[in-house]
Symmetry: C2
Amino acid sequence: MSKLFVRTLRENPADAEVPSHQLLVRAGYIRRAAPGIYTWLPLGLKVLRKVEQIVREEMDATGAQEVHFPALLPREPYEQTNRWTEYGPNLFRLKDRRENDYLLAPTHEEMFTLLVKDLYSSYKDLPLMLYQIQTKYRDEARPRAGLIRGREFVMKDAYSFDVEDAGLDAQYQTMRDSYEKIFNRLGLEYVICSAMSGAMGGSRSEEFLHPTAIGEDTFVRAASGYAANAEAVTTPQAQDIDHSDVPPAEILDTPDSTTIDTLVAVANQLRPRDEPWGAKDTLKNVVVAINHPDGEREVLVIGVPGDRDVDLKRVEAAVSPAEVEVATPEDLEKHPELVPGYIGPTAIGPNSPNRVTDEDGTISGSVRYLLDPRVARGSAWITGANAEQKHVFNLVYGRDFEADGTIEAVEIRDGDPAPDGSGPLELARGIELGHIFQLGRKYAENLGLTVLDENGKARVVTMGSYGIGVSRILAALAETYHDDLGLAWPINVAPAQVHVLATGKGAEIFETAERLAAELTAAGFEVIYDDRPKVSAGVKFKDYELLGIPHGLVVGRGLADGTVEIRTRATGEAQEVPVGEAVSTLVDVLRADLAAHGE
Amino acid sequence: MSKLFVRTLRENPADAEVPSHQLLVRAGYIRRAAPGIYTWLPLGLKVLRKVEQIVREEMDATGAQEVHFPALLPREPYEQTNRWTEYGPNLFRLKDRRENDYLLAPTHEEMFTLLVKDLYSSYKDLPLMLYQIQTKYRDEARPRAGLIRGREFVMKDAYSFDVEDAGLDAQYQTMRDSYEKIFNRLGLEYVICSAMSGAMGGSRSEEFLHPTAIGEDTFVRAASGYAANAEAVTTPQAQDIDHSDVPPAEILDTPDSTTIDTLVAVANQLRPRDEPWGAKDTLKNVVVAINHPDGEREVLVIGVPGDRDVDLKRVEAAVSPAEVEVATPEDLEKHPELVPGYIGPTAIGPNSPNRVTDEDGTISGSVRYLLDPRVARGSAWITGANAEQKHVFNLVYGRDFEADGTIEAVEIRDGDPAPDGSGPLELARGIELGHIFQLGRKYAENLGLTVLDENGKARVVTMGSYGIGVSRILAALAETYHDDLGLAWPINVAPAQVHVLATGKGAEIFETAERLAAELTAAGFEVIYDDRPKVSAGVKFKDYELLGIPHGLVVGRGLADGTVEIRTRATGEAQEVPVGEAVSTLVDVLRADLAAHGE
């Protein structure tokens, strides 16, 4: 400890809000170099390398082969797949001295595709699985929580290559199984969630989420075992309703009723009924702006039951790779038919008098209007009448208005029905540890990766993409393995296995502690020895607790009676043992702990 | 081999000129992703990791502690040391989404200095040595020779921190010794050359150069053991000469004599003498342009004996961190006193009628004029008379003209005297493997890194910086360890230790080869097994030779007689052994080879 490049902090750093971030900085594992960009200090680097090694071993066990790509890459391949544009401001772009465009790669689908194209040409070369453990870059709008969302981070990314869909299924399953092994070895709880593939394209996709309140991903699960990223939850289309009894639509003056609450109050005044009107009887029309990758900004109206809020992340997933934001006053000015507070479906979408549909189906003249699938054909609504201070009652979908389609837009709530019909959903938050995708043939088609089959026919290769956030895993570990006093690493990822403390003043204490530390080192264990001569026992214990080495050996006052103390960091248990038995006892403890972690 | 992600090439890639580059690409170790940017394929990555591990072990053995810095860094620290500007176009610069300036770090002095400042405050914390093995970026004007000069590359960089100069000396020596161990373990010949520190600042500096004809660094050595980078060779100032016998300077018409050759011919015509005039009697005035880091472009004239050429790399080292290029016609137009072909010292430098020297010593009104140290005070020259078709004879330095100082500008030649007086220099070329610098207090002063000494007084820390080009080492290894057939790796860096070849058609051959490969693997060795069923023996041998695995085991026709063949790649030696003894014999060979490499 007197030489180790570490300084522990008693206070949480000002910019750290979650425990993992606070403790990793306080214990001297990482240090911020810039927003979302961290330096690894000696202890942090040791944990990172151990996590990497576990990931590597499990990847190698599947037969995947490790390669290593540059982080600095030319624009062209990403241009060909349109991701140079699609990534928007998340991509770090730069020019070299010859003014050629480069990027810092956020992921490497293009490069792997081109490499395989470069080397392979026959179906006999496949299946193939390649991976790398490599530094990636994303210019996140809001880097947060230390290693959880960074701008420079370490990822394991793997890519599978097959001729047949069944081959992709098999390799996808192999990676899925491997991920389970990895997170089990790391002692990290995970939930496998169905996921949208977002900007990655492709079909099947699952996320490995680590459940924790500080996670930034919302997911749902049901008793059946169903689990999905909130963005991936699908809502069944509500069944058609018979509207033959519904009176004709009627426009009423509804002064000062620009919110759902005021509208419901006014409705109950104007047209009281046995079951009072509620928010669920109103159709809320929310205006959003979609930024398409080609630069087009589209204003879109989404109709949802008034008792539901729109979840922009779910909307974004639905329109990916486009990005979504709340419409601005400037957006609304361009569409005078949208009367704020009184927007209704009869003047927009297919019902707009300005709507023009070209021969090729291109829509112009009016904004698109999409409905939440909960809105049933035949259902009647109170909604805006497209004029100041006016709403329309008994407006029936399919009778009085139409829409351009449906969209998954509203937020998922605790208790919503599971899509598989297995009962209510439970909402939870998590950290995304891994993500596996069936990309299909999108990248291979774009970049011309084909192989010749048995009959000499060129076949487009089908691909999968499989990522693990390696540096992020350290945050998940620190979130899981800590208490009020500090970190408490599992033995297989801890920067050292034993922390020897010399607490006291006698030379004998220091000599004994040093000898025991040396014996443990000789027995093949990694040891931190707190040899600082002028540091109090209290400070040494505090540092031991903060650093989180799983096993402690305290050489202190008890030495006068011939005993030392063996401690377990995670449980706080302590036992006195005769000094002569200390090493053999501790070695047994260490071996048992390692064995319990499958090492 | 049927699964290994590798494709060997029979032809050299078009862009590869040196053997290491050709072979590393042909054998499927690396692949170009962009100019100076390479992808590591499985075999290449294995070698890279082994080289890294050797470097890491030796660093750890010195007590240096490993950390890991980001590659993407904010501008501010580099601005503070002026390197944001000094690096010029060699620095990859970019902006993040908030328009903040970032760079891809070419080296990390600033960040290490700030980290130590952040964590440490007392002299008791020192000495300290930190290192990292990390990806670096330099936007080289001319990336070349594969891994020898790349734009993204792996470096080990270490930094030492001390209070006293003696501490820096000691840590510098520790690193120097460690480097010797590393290059010895790697089996790479090296010469330790005195070096200029260039843009790094500081005092003592040495390069570890690997001598090879394809190297891009020129160095010199003498029988005494003296060795230096060509840029670092110093020329003693020629001793003053008595010029009392020299007649007055005389301007003569010298038509069409704009080159040294024509001038010498004209001189011998106009003023014949016993010992004919030679190039060495003329003073050549070379105009160069200096690009200063602050953006200023200075035109400078350098006077050198006419039998010597100016070496721009040496000039650049002398004016570092400024950059040098040949003056353009535009540069000359701005200085009408410079008459091309007839430039002479009497109208420039201190002798210029336009020269103005401010009170603070700032020079203006005329270009600076610097002399090669070989030009002795009192020596007489034939040189330009600053007018078309005219030269001046018997122009004596110190009598008829002055200079602004001296500069190391002329090229070093085989046979030039060693600066230590030990005899003639031998010129050679090499690859820079490592570079160690005594930075001194420059960075610590710039960035405010001080510690309190015993008396509570703040002391500026003195630093060293120690680099090894880790990825470049692979090129040096490939240059050293190859023959006409391919690569031939030393066993301690080879991607595998044994290459088992099944050459023939019988099932028994493949079964035996597979069994032997499995036994060797079980014995703890890394094995490549060429199991390809439809590939000819000839192709398998060619691939074995190209890949360069140090030991081969051939299971082929001899198996009918109960024998297999053990081969040594480097020597081409082969011995038949009974199949039952193959593994034990080979294990002995492998152990002996490993032992010979200190493993």
